[in-house]
Amino acid sequence: MSTHFPHTETPSAELAGVSLSYAKHGPVLKSLDWQLLPGQVVGLLGRNGSGKTTLLETLLGLREPDAGTVRVFGQDAGRLDDAARARIGYVPQQSDLFEGFTPAQLLAYFKSFYPRWNEAKVEGLMSRWDIARDKPIRKLSGGQQQRLSIIRALAHEPDLLVLDEPVASLDPVGRRDFLRELVEQVLDRGTTVVFSTHILSDLERVAFNLAFLSEGRIALQAPLDELLEQVRAFTGTVTELASLFSRLGAQPLKRTPLEAGRERVLARLPAGVAVPLDAQAVNLEDLFAELT
């Protein structure tokens, strides 16, 4: 097993049977179960409006679920103590926050709350990402605001880093720098990272685990390399495929009916099973389209 996917008994975050509805939009999360193990890097995938932000906010205790439990570092997410909160870093979807502050003011402000603050890392990233220290945040570009938000979240060296579409406003170079920083963070400190994104190529670079959010639940979570190796698309009649899956021990993930009693099925094969020749390989984009 990869060093980035260590097995441990105590999850960094755990959601069990979580349901959450909005008064005007109906249910968003439906009896959702999810675990984030220490050192895992998880990419959260889901369609627009599928509830990714709601899920991440619920995980952090910023939204109270209608049912179920949410625990972070073993504590109730709604009542985290100071020590637990000092171990969390969060980059929200919007980066145009604290617009009246300058970056220097923002960082000094947040520094005053945290017991641990890596000034060298902050200075290094501020220079590397070329962020003016004394320019009001509202005058920074969207990409610079997002970079600043990431620096703020990394500065206190969190053990759990939650990022909601952190690279949406970044150019390719900015994204590459950010991902490099993220990987270093994980390699150096074993930080648990969960981030949502729509940029699938970025996931291929850093997300060792993928979680697919669909219809209010985590439809599937598995290491990316395992998914690409074990998930295949099969086409045939219902009877043929049922017999094939039974013989291979495959787990059907998504069925799409075709004409004349045929169907296309996305199925996950057990590890070590020889892949049938007529099975089609799938890429990350196919997985996103089929599983979300």
């Binding site: 910023l62 709604g78 009246g100 003011q105 402000y109």
Partner: protein, 483 residues
């Protein structure tokens, strides 16, 4: 002629109207109609003039809505890229201006007695609508209207320009229609000049107009854009405020401790933003200085002593002082809504209270702010009342106190997006409360001490009731997440 395009341009203001607080607007409309009906009931002999003036005011409001909408539609990109858009916008504006000017003049001419000639009324109405259009684009024109008359008469310009005015009058009497026609042509050109063709000058003027329009819309929802919306002059004026708040932030951060007062002192900077007590205090001090200077200038230029006018102006000054002192505190819940995205990060900070403790801390921060503002403003009203010998001015303070408890102590987690009505409602409630107290004092001869006690008891009872509900509510931050 394609009338559909003109309809789209003309009716855009109605189609794009704010639909967020219909009941608030209906209430305001009902109040206006009620006021008009009451006036007609009290003075039946003035029915026709009152209706005519009311109708003229409605027409002027209609013009304001139309011209703002047309100027907004005259975006530089649209003016440059959409065929015939500029010409059709200009035609719509000019036809609206001409029709509404004519209608206003006709209404006043037919229903009001002792009016000047119809030509003069038409010229006056057309000039007023033109001025409104320009003042909606260039805010500095409101300053001209505010202090212009004082300077005009105070510096003796009226006397110096008397020969010129007399010559124009002679000319008007000799050739009224020619002068009216020429004047209307100039005014029409001025209306047409409100619109641009997508060049650099248009882009600059549109940016200014759009900035003020957005700031005005935001302020109706309780979000204050600050003086920066007024361009470079505004930024220059707001610089001391920014420096003061920045200094306070440095102080709060440098003295940071893991204690509740220290944490909330820092959190308040984000929670209240431009409604922070320091910002408001400086704003009030600046407002008082400007008001004092204006009054002194006005009285000095008008050649009258201050003392003589003190009593006459006491009510106006009290209303101004009360509005300046009380109203900003009523806007604090709106600021919680506008800082809700930042609150998600605040909630995760070590030291930040959680659950019930957070509810108490946020509520107390707002209540303390409002009570301090109330105490200082009421003290100011007391001084004014003493100086003017009119103790009843204190009723405004008595009317505002229950609102500090009733309006501010609401569970932030359930608050809805602030609307124009939510911004105006506490102001109206305070005015009605103050007037109610004043009426009780005047009509029932209730002593001020009784009114003060009534206000205090109501406030404490209301506060205790709301406090219990607030403490039992879900965590206060982020605000509005359960709406």
């Amino acid at each position: 002629m394609n009338t559909a395009a003109y309809n789209q341009l003309l009716l855009a203001f109605w189609r794009q109207r704010d639909r967020e607080s219909p009941w608030g607007r209906r209430a305001m409309f009902a109040l206006a109609v009620l006021g008009l009906a009451l006036s007609i009931y009290l003075v039946p002999q003035l029915t026709a003039p009152l209706l005519a003036v009311a109708a003229a005011l409605v027409l002027m409001s209609l013009w304001t809505a139309i011209i703002i909408s047309l100027m907004q539609q005259n975006h530089p990109h649209v003016a440059r890229c959409v065929p015939r858009h500029l010409r059709q916008t200009l035609e719509t504006a000019l036809v609206s201006w001409a029709t509404l000017s004519l209608a206003c003049a006709a209404l006043l001419w037919f229903f009001l007695q002792k009016m000047p000639s119809f030509e003069l009324l038409l010229l006056g109405a057309a000039a007023l609508l033109t001025f409104l259009g320009w003042a909606l684009r260039e805010w500095q024109l409101w300053l001209v209207i505010s202090i212009g008359p004082v300077l005009f008469f105070g510096t003796g310009l009226d006397r110096r320009l008397a020969p010129f005015v007399a010559a124009v009058r002679e000319l008007w009497l000799a050739q009224p229609l020619t002068l009216l026609g020429l004047s209307l042509l100039v005014l029409g050109w001025a209306v047409a000049s409100l619109f641009g063709k997508g060049d650099d000058a248009h882009r600059a003027s549109y940016t200014r107009f759009d900035r003020i329009r957005r700031a005005s819309e935001d302020s109706m929802r309780g979000k204050y854009a600050g003086a920066g919306a007024f361009g470079e002059a505004g930024k220059w004026l707001s610089r001391p405020f920014e420096l003061a708040l920045s200094g306070w932030q440095r102080y709060a951060v440098s003295r940071a401790e893991p204690t509740l007062p220290s944490v909330m002192r820092r959190a308040e900077i984000v929670l209240h933003g431009r409604q922070h007590w320091l910002y408001q205090s400086l704003g009030i001090v600046l407002g008082l200085v400007i008001a004092a200077l204006s009054f002194m200038l006005a009285f000095a230029l008008a050649g009258q002593g201050l003392q003589e006018n003190w009593t006459k102006g006491a009510y106006g000054m009290a209303i101004g002082m009360a509005s300046m002192g009380f109203n900003p505190a009523f806007g604090l819940p709106n600021m919680l809504w506008h800082s809700r995205r930042e609150q998600a990060l605040l909630r995760l900070l070590p030291g930040m209270p959680q659950g019930v403790a957070l509810n108490r801390a946020v509520a107390w921060t707002q209540l303390r702010h409002a009570l301090c503002a109330w105490a200082l403003t009421t003290a100011g009203l007391g001084l004014l009342a003493w100086a003017a010998g009119e103790a009843a001015l204190m009723c405004m303070g008595f009317g505002a106190l229950p609102l500090c408890a009733g309006w501010l102590l609401r569970p932030p987690s359930r608050m809805k997006a602030p609307t124009a009505w939510a911004t105006i409602a506490p102001v109206m409630a305070f005015i009605f409360g103050g007037w109610g107290m004043y009426a009780l004092h005047l009509m029932l001869h209730l002593p001020l001490l009784v009114l003060a006690s009534l206000s205090l008891v109501t406030s404490v009872a209301l506060g205790a009731w709301r406090w219990r509900a607030l403490v039992a509510a879900p965590a206060a931050l982020p605000a509005g997440r359960l709406a």
